[in-house]
């Protein structure tokens, strides 16, 4: 996701004023993903929101000596979001990876069983599956895929609670100086 451009930055201007402009844009960027991220299946929005949280976190961490305590707390909140969404993203890429591995192993086993069979056979006995060298690998891979799906659901519920709590606590307003 390309970062939104920050307008009106002045290299010869005061550091604090410029940092505040950047924080305001990065905060807006992060919050713009809030509505879409409420859909548990919006994996792209979750990923983009993580990147936006990371960008906000870095400007707050860097600017903390100038922007003070709200920046420190804001950076901590942004990191919490970034970490949660990062774990969700890991599940999102982990599930297809495991399923893809299962698919490849199945193809391998299919070819092995097929090549072990008599080319003129009219049928195949279940015992022929014994030559499949990957057969002991499937249970762990299936368990892993299921675990990652369940973990994603748990993490997503935690993300929703965290995001709602942060918004209710005035996360954005504090950073914009609208609330003490």
């Amino acid at each position: 996701m390309k970062a939104r451009k920050v307008k009106g930055l002045d290299p010869d201007g005061a550091l604090e004023a410029n940092l505040r402009r950047i924080v305001a844009v990065r905060l807006d960027e992060l919050r713009s993903f809030g509505p879409a991220a409420l859909d548990p299946d919006a994996t792209e929005a979750h990923h983009d929101m993580r990147i936006a949280a990371k960008r906000l976190r870095y400007v707050l961490e860097l600017g903390e000596p100038v922007l003070g305590k709200p920046a420190r707390h804001g950076a901590k909140d942004a990191r919490t979001l970034q970490d949660l969404l990062g774990e969700i993203h890991d599940c999102d890429i982990g599930v297809p990876r495991v399923l893809n591995t299962i698919g490849k192993l199945r193809e391998e086993d299919l070819a092995t069983i097929r090549s072990a069979a008599d080319p003129k056979a009219s049928d195949l006995e279940p015992s022929s599956a014994r030559v499949a060298r990957n057969r002991r690998r499937y249970p762990g891979l299936e368990s892993m895929a299921t675990y990652l799906r369940a973990r994603r659901e748990v993490l997503y519920a935690e993300f929703l609670r965290t995001w709602t709590r942060m918004e209710r606590a005035g996360f954005g307003d504090r950073l914009n100086g609208k609330r003490a």
Partner: protein, 164 residues
């Protein structure tokens, strides 16, 4: 994860531009300070520390982009991103391997062969990713990235100068 180094004089900078020079100087030195032992896969914290430092440098370069000459800044940012990407690919495998090892400990004996298969796949990918990091570090040296980043910082802060 290593804590970010303090940037001396940052808050007292007389301008956004002066702060830019200070930030890029310190964050550059931070990156190269973590270089030792990065290719050692038995200590995964090293690559993590260098990756985090690279991300901090990249962030500083993006935050202060308007303060630097556009062309050179763009070129250097691209090179920093390439280094960060290489370190990131290695780190992703390191983290995934640890996760698989934890899973293997916690899941049933029947599940272990499958987990071991995934772990072996990840170890192969880690070795390949480590090769990419090695090449990226060689390129960084050959291209004098550290020196050019420090020169970029010095360019916008000529009066004070920046140690190379």
């Amino acid at each position: 994860m290593a804590k970010a180094r303090e940037i001396p004089g940052f808050a007292e900078s007389s301008s956004y531009r002066e702060a830019a020079a200070r930030a890029v100087q310190v964050r550059t030195e931070e990156v190269f300070g973590f270089r030792e032992g990065v290719l050692d896969v038995s200590d995964i914290d090293r690559v993590h520390d260098m990756r985090v430092a690279t991300r901090r440098l990249r962030a500083a370069m993006e935050i202060f982009a308007p303060c630097f000459p556009k062309k050179e800044h763009g070129r250097l940012l691209k090179e920093v991103k390439a280094l960060a990407d290489a370190l990131g690919e290695r780190r992703d495998r390191d983290v995934a391997i640890v996760a698989m090892e934890t899973a293997a400990e916690q899941m049933t004996a029947a599940d272990r062969p499958g987990i071991a298969h995934l772990t072996a796949q990840l170890r192969e990918e880690q070795t390949r990713a480590n090769g990419v990091v090695e090449q990226a570090l060689e390129k960084v040296d050959a291209d004098g990235l550290r020196e050019r980043l420090l020169a970029l910082a010095a360019e916008v802060l000529p009066a004070e100068g920046v140690a190379s």
